[in-house]
Symmetry: C2
Subunit: 602 residues, 2 copies
């Protein structure tokens, strides 16, 4: 009989510590807790009446606060709001009214999966997550975000304190600590990552002794084949230098720092190799909802190139129920027949980084191990954020005696967003970031070339021929995420040859921070997983983020960046160039930049 | 020259992973961030204007909500409120008015150590903690809670996601993973703990391969000398069975489960041994403010015994500034000349467990390593709870344009608690728990003995002599914490001898859960760090918690417990006894109880 198969058993990949964790078998005791009228003197919990918080409240946005952009190519109506018409969320004329959310001290709702109150949320809880939020996110993940996970019975989830915590737990789950002084080199575990990577994640592998092996990438992301591609690395692995990596860390949408978004075909090719060589995939996906359908067309238009045909949207068996979600390039989970994908989702970019809240999606057996790890560490994410996000999405409670007592104004202002509202909020955020991306890229586009009047040629050619164009930098309009990845063409600088490229890159970085340019760019060095990449390629790049500064500042900063580069290319005197940097020696700065990466590269 | 010495360097004790973590040297880059008008395109932060929360708010208690008890023996005035007279907190007639707290989206305060708003709190932050809360807690710890730490320049702190997280990070800092199948037994690291211990902490040691060695204890806590005491263990350590433990996990105030509180002299003796044998002390202290001065006197009175003289209060060089804090038995930190104490504090019992917020106090070099560990894991506790607790204690901001716009009523209702209020809140909580403890212990006192009319003796003795008293259980009135630790005297049960003691204990536990007794007690088994202790001693004990149930229920439940025991002692028929437990076999239940410990023993 054909049909979904259960996921593979990866327990042989668990670290020694993870394998040694015991499963909790407390369930058989629940019957005692539930004896009617039982006086529970067994637990060590403080009584909820002694918490100093009687409510938690907030002024919150309506889900329609930000204007979305069309879901091209699969939004034929081009009606921005069409996909949300008829949904339960309010009409857009309410948008400016902030809503007032209240998490009550005690809710009358009986079902723990729906009960949102401080008596439960601020008490000791379950490592899997606060029951209402856990059950909401599990359903959202299984029915809307990842409705096509191919293994039998689908994935489970567990809440985390954000993706750094999720990554740390995945590492704890699947890697043993290795140390040069006591272990054999041939036993050294390793991890695969992109050629340019989010270094905070990569750095967390190093103290555990993991060998970090970058995989060659292009604008989309990792390359499955070709020199330095995934197959090349796995097929030709030298076992004497350590174990062939059985773990991969990857950001496949709006990749940090390159902005690349991995196509479905590429995913299939890479997954097939991971399956062949038994690699577990940690898919860190903070930017999944920030995919920019306008990027390709706008890029072509800005460069007077013919618009390339829109990439076909792959329609999996089940729809998410939302055109916006259906329009997004989907997760590795959609092709995860083996159950080897551990996906990390976070509220850091959809709500705020300070939430420290996210979730892991994977096959249930792996999720169970992650929960065991949480139990003796973070235990559970803070009940403050769990209850407020629950209330934001699911609230207010259907039965709530406090609610009745509120003023009419307060009563009408807050309606829980529900899934319709949550998806609408994401679409609105995508709209904001897409417009910022367009603004930054337009400004950068204007400054790519240095135009110089050359000596007129004695020919019949028209005037434009005597203008020489020097390309100072190049970039792709990012298809997703928060970053533009700029390749600098230092080889076209007049002093290239007299001053080594990497030094020129440093001076350029400092020059950009001076008046009147005043721009801080993230140097490519800090996204280089190995010293070799930093030395060979990393110094040639800048990562510009269009998310952090104010909307007004995005275009202005990008313009100042372009002007700074232009001015830098006009420096022809070596002495003048070296004066830019009176203090910092080259080597020192390189080290500092690498450290800086940990802090900047969020 | 005599004077405080710097703490010792314990870096040789760091685990391989911890030693391999790199120090961040980003400081030299701050100057670039601070260039006026700089457009920061380097960071990868989302813009705060896109957070869906415009404010965070709450209805909060006034610090005087609960009535304190006197700080005997060092509160000569016996005026309950005297120690708070003249403080900045409000008069007690305001107590019933709940206050409304608001964390604004953006505060105008410039100093980051004082600025509390969502723009900072919900952004990526520092692993050490949210700057205003970190700086407040650091000052509170150094000036009020631990003003007498003897090493040069005193301790530093770092915020944690609660004490389980703090414990996990301390373990990560100071222990390597050991595994039987690959490592030498003589290399096995170990940890010392109390004979009866908080098993969630102890359990987190096991998957790392640590050998857990319990130290004999009495009602106060660990014994420094005598058989099974600390000196005995360390002096006679058999190196062939593993490394002599260099780590101790201890709860010294209101110990979980025994309720013991360790005197200063005992601390000095134990510390001296730790110093001699180079043991690092992890002091987990969730109940430090729950010390009950009335316990000894009430216990004596209830038993018609002469009141023992009150223990002398040790006055260290510097006062905390608060009679309440001065009255408490102080931390190991007060005698920590070497800098070998890592203290874990938590908001779990002072605010709510769901906060998942606490802090580590230790010498700065150790705190720095803990911060490095946090950076690649939890990063920082949730900004939701950090900002709300900051606002609760430190708020509202001196300059706040939003505040002016509020209604008069809202303006007057909230004043930040400040340290005066925080200490007053703790004193109030202590009052609540002390009254609960008294209530439970009084009820238990009434039921300790089975009184039986014996055959009258033909003597001149008076009537009372013919009443035989059978002691069914004994206990000390706890000097601190949330628990009464009850020793059951099964040897006095009529069926003892016919039914083995441990089995009798199981049946008694089940019997207590039946009508009309309906009491769930925590069995001593689940606090036994080794199977030997469980088998030899653990089964004789129950831990009763007076914190979790409602205040009204405390006395009633304790009374039902006493009545249940009395009824259990009246069962004289073996068949009737075995009928109590038709389902659960002895062995199975023991295993389940151990697991249950993980979940109950918070």
């Amino acid at each position: 009989m054909k049909g979904p198969k259960p996921p593979l058993d990866f327990s042989y990949r668990y670290s020694r510590v993870t394998a040694a964790r015991k499963e909790s078998s407390v369930k058989s005791f629940y019957k005692y807790f539930q004896i009617p009228g039982i006086g529970n003197l067994a637990g060590g919990l403080p009584n909820a009446s002694l918490f100093p918080f009687d409510t938690l409240e907030a002024q919150t946005a309506q889900p329609q606060r930000w204007k979305p952009t069309p879901n091209n190519p699969n939004d034929p109506s081009k009606d921005l709001f069409a996909s949300f018409a008829g949904s339960s969320i309010k009409a857009d004329n309410d948008v400016s009214v902030p809503a007032h959310l209240t998490v009550p001290h005690a809710s009358a709702v009986a079902n723990p999966m729906e009960k949102i109150d401080l008596t439960t949320a601020l008490q000791y809880g379950q490592a899997q997550g606060y029951p209402p939020l856990y059950s909401y996110l599990r359903q959202f993940t299984r029915e809307n975000l990842q409705p096509n996970v191919p293994y039998l019975n689908g994935p489970d989830i567990a809440l985390t304190c954000g993706n750094t915590d999720g990554m740390s737990k995945a590492l704890e789950c699947f890697t043993n600590v290795w140390s040069e002084e006591r272990d054999w080199i041939r036993e050294r575990p390793g991890i695969l990552c992109e050629e340019f990577a989010y270094m905070s994640a990569v750095q967390s592998c190093r103290p555990r002794g993991l060998a970090v092996t970058p995989v060659k990438m292009d604008a989309e992301g990792m390359l499955p084949t070709g020199p330095g591609g995934l197959e090349d690395i796995l097929q030709n692995w030298d076992e004497s230098k350590g174990l062939r990596p059985h773990l991969m860390y990857t950001v496949t949408i709006g990749q940090n720092p390159t902005g690349g978004t991995l196509s479905i075909q590429r995913r299939k090719d890479i997954y097939a190799l991971c399956s062949k060589y038994d690699v577990i995939i940690i898919e860190d996906d903070p930017y999944w909802y920030l995919q920019f359908p306008s990027a390709a067309a706008c890029e072509a238009e800005a460069r007077n190139l013919p618009a390339s045909p829109a990439a076909p949207v792959h329609i999996f068996k089940k729809s998410s129920g939302y055109p916006f979600l259906d329009s997004l390039v989907p997760s590795y989970l959609n092709i995860d027949y083996d159950g080897r994908v551990i996906r990390l989702d976070t509220f850091s970019k959809t709500v705020a980084p300070g939430c420290r809240l996210g979730w892991i999606t994977a096959q249930p057996a792996i999720v169970e191990r992650i929960v065991r790890i949480s139990e003796s560490g973070t235990q559970q994410p803070s009940g403050f954020v769990q209850s407020m996000i629950s209330e934001l999405i699911m609230g207010p409670q259907p039965v709530m005696s406090e609610f009745v007592k509120k003023s009419k104004k307060e009563q009408v202002t807050f309606t829980g967003w529900k899934t319709d509202g949550w998806v609408r909020w994401l679409a609105g955020l995508r709209g904001v970031y897409e417009r910022r991306m367009n603004r930054m890229c337009s400004a950068l586009e204007d400054g790519r070339f240095q135009l110089k009047q050359g000596t007129p040629l004695k020919t019949s050619e028209s005037d434009w021929a005597v203008i020489s164009k020097t390309e100072m930098y190049s970039f792709d309009w990012p298809r997703g995420g928060m970053f533009v990845w700029i390749k600098m063409h230092y080889e076209s600088h007049p002093l290239f040859g007299q001053i080594p490229g990497p030094r020129l890159a440093q001076l350029c970085w400092i020059f950009l921070t001076t008046t009147p340019y005043l721009v801080l760019a993230a140097p490519g060095l800090i996204f280089s997983p190995t010293p070799e990449i930093a030395e060979k390629e990393g110094w040639k790049y800048y990562r510009l983020c269009f998310a952090a500064v104010s909307e007004d500042e995005v275009g202005k900063s990008a313009k100042r960046f372009a002007e700074g580069i232009k001015a830098f290319w006009l420096i022809k005197d070596k002495k003048e160039m070296e004066d830019i940097d009176p203090e910092i020696s080259g080597r020192q700065m390189e080290g500092e930049l690498t450290d800086l990466g940990m802090n900047l590269a969020c």
